[in-house]
């Protein structure tokens, strides 16, 4: 009985101290995180009106750029008989998850797509349009996430492949990028250990054919 008394006293002292702490790490609030009334006091220095004005201007600029893009598209179609299509076929299996695919055409980002979940199709059409005949440079970048990698952070695995295509007037050039992957990234247990290790081997075969 005596032991019980002093043990109780011992734990009481701990709980009294912890009582101070309970106000510390932040108890959950009733309002869900995305409550509309929850203003962001942290961003008080940012002018809401200025943000809205720039957003509107940005939208208008994108409108005009898209209109110019369409005009140049129809012109290129009339002027150049050279058509290019670019496809990507990826065989990325678990535990890797495809996070993003990019196509750079002559140094400019032409296709970019982020994936929150594995795409439902393995074959993606990245480009289809008319270009001046001659040499053009294509670069495909594939980004993937390994197991346990957070959604918000940049993907941890990257592979890329480049190809120069030579377009002919009056012909369709079909460029293909085919990726095959193998590898063994560190899993949660590995990362908790002393010496985690992993690998991601990707083969991207790029080719093009020209036809009518």
């Amino acid at each position: 009985m005596a032991a019980r008394v002093w043990l109780t006293a011992l734990c009481l002292s701990g709980l009294v101290l912890a009582g101070v702490a309970l106000a510390g790490p932040g108890a959950p609030a009733a309002a869900p995180a995305d409550a509309p009334a929850a203003a962001a006091p942290e961003a008080g220095g940012l002018d809401e009106k200025a943000l809205a004005e720039i957003a509107l201007e940005q939208s208008r600029l994108r409108d005009e750029l898209a209109a110019a893009e369409a005009r140049l598209g129809v012109l290129a179609e009339k002027l150049f008989g050279a058509r290019l299509t670019v496809t990507y076929r990826g065989e990325l299996d678990a535990p890797f998850q495809l996070a993003r695919v990019e196509l750079w055409l002559d140094g400019a980002l032409t296709y970019a797509q982020d994936f929150q979940r594995p795409p439902s199709v393995q074959l993606l059409q990245l480009f289809d349009g008319h270009l001046p005949p001659g040499r053009h440079l294509l670069l495909v970048r594939v980004l993937a996430r390994g197991p346990g990698e957070p959604e918000g952070a940049p993907p941890g695995y990257l592979a890329g492949s480049g190809l120069a295509v030579h377009l002919r007037e009056g012909a369709v050039t079909r460029a293909r990028f085919e990726a095959e992957q193998d590898g063994d990234p560190p899993d949660t247990d590995d990362l908790a250990g002393e010496a985690p290790e992993g690998s991601w081997d990707v083969d991207i075969e790029a080719s093009f054919t020209t036809g009518r």
Partner: protein, 615 residues
Amino acid sequence: MLGVWVLAWLGLLAQADLLHGPETELRRWLAQQARPARAGAPAAAEASPAELAERLRGAETLYLDGASQAAARALGALLLDPRFTRLAGEPAADTARYYLASALAREGALVRARQLLLELIGRSPPSDLRGPALRRLVELTLRSDEFEPALTPLASLRLEPGETDEVAYLQGKALLTLGHPERAREPLGRIGPASRLYASARYLLALIALERGDREAAEDELCRLVRRPASGREPFFLSDQAAQAVAHAWLALARLRYERGKFMHAADTYRRVEDDPWVGPRARYELAWSLQRAGRLDAAAAELEALLLQPAAWEDEPAARLLLAYTHLAACRWDEAEALLRADAGRLEALGAALEAQAAGAAPRALPTEVQPWVPLAGRERRAEALAAGLAHSREALARLRAELERVRTGMPRRTEAAPAGELLAERLRAELSRADGLSQRAADLRARFGRAEGAAAALEELGQVAARVEAARERARAQLVRLEAGAWARAPAATAADPARTPLAYLDAERASLGALALRLAAATRSAEALLQAARAAHLRRASQQVAIWARQASLGKVDAVVGRKQALEIEVQNLALGRYPLSALRALAESGALDEGLEYWPYDGEGWPDEYQ
């Protein structure tokens, strides 16, 4: 009088722009191309429905595969092409407009996208795509928060039953955004359970009730959202968005129960969504809180230990580590608590010092890598980052279009010059800027790592000087790059055209002038966005600094608690010894050696406390 002249002059300018704008010039050239070259020669062939269908299929594939820019270009070109004019009334042309609007919306060209969708929605006789167009318009409007340009034209339309739900949701959201939550209740309450927006509307109604302090009503709303029908059938639109709203509803319900002090009830509610992809980690952290408050200390600690096994850093990680340490404190596990708190206090104090130094700098930029997941960007900060990124994307698109324009004009597949003046320098400046960014980040990380370590003051000062020099050099390089890019935009395209008869020089000149004007507007918008971005980053840095300082203080206080707790435990042991009672540590050894009386009563501590003893 002068005003009238100015207005007249502006009117003339606008008319001239309309008459000689790039679109007018292009249409003129296209019409010229479509005419027979000489009397009796065949005119350019008009497109057939089969060709339209084939082109549409190609663009649709591009859109569905995520190539929205290429899809917008292909569809925009198709709708501009006079060969397809005769087919403008075909259902396939409506599909082209619908996909063009969708692709433009993805690309951020919202005004034209909205225009196309409203045209499809308001068409008489109604288009087959009226329903999908309305839904797309609602999505676009919700994403942009620009309600007025969508709601005003929709107000003049006669809406079908399914469509009223969509518009009611837009009205409710608009009223909420304008700060009229009570008025938003009426349109949100009208949305039926078969609507795809029903779950989101009920969730918003719960939030409104919560905001006016009516917790009962909020709980009723949330329960209505999460409950399953006892019998019979109940229509419910199942989608990712609805599932997300239901997950948030469970979380909100659990929080309400927690706030009422029903900790075990709250814990059971949290468990409903502990594996949910959207709210799972947050629910598990708050579940541990509920268990802690309910006095289930071992269960809370186990939950937190499992949660902290996640390899990647996450938002509630420091708070969860602190909670685990305080849970150990509450369970009188002084050693475990002190070890955790000692490690955390040192790390957090060092990080806090690094953040404080950065916040005091002239141009605060990089947040140490370690802190980024703990203090994510909030509302306006995120918007400022997204705006700056969007404008950078627009600059890339503009540069690409200008290069393409130049290529078309020269008729060459690539530019004639190997490296036009300034391009090489611009490339090098971009590389230097990238290096400067990397160096700033490394300096911030090193400051965070060394922090207030003994003997590191001199190194830290030197590091601060290096960071300041890097920052100054970065600013100089950035200013030069801006000047260089402005110069490149003003550069005239090459004067040689491969085939002047075939090349539409008037259009190219008009397009060049239009893109030049666009470049100036883009530069002005970039400057404003850059200023907002700096303000956003400074606000983010201040917030991160304050938050880390709070955690560091809590860890230090906890450390003191652990030391005082152990001291009190020792005092109690000493008092017990003085009274002739055995200390716990000696009990087992004495019992094993047979030195204890068999009749001694002893209740071992079970780790859960004895609430009846201290309440």
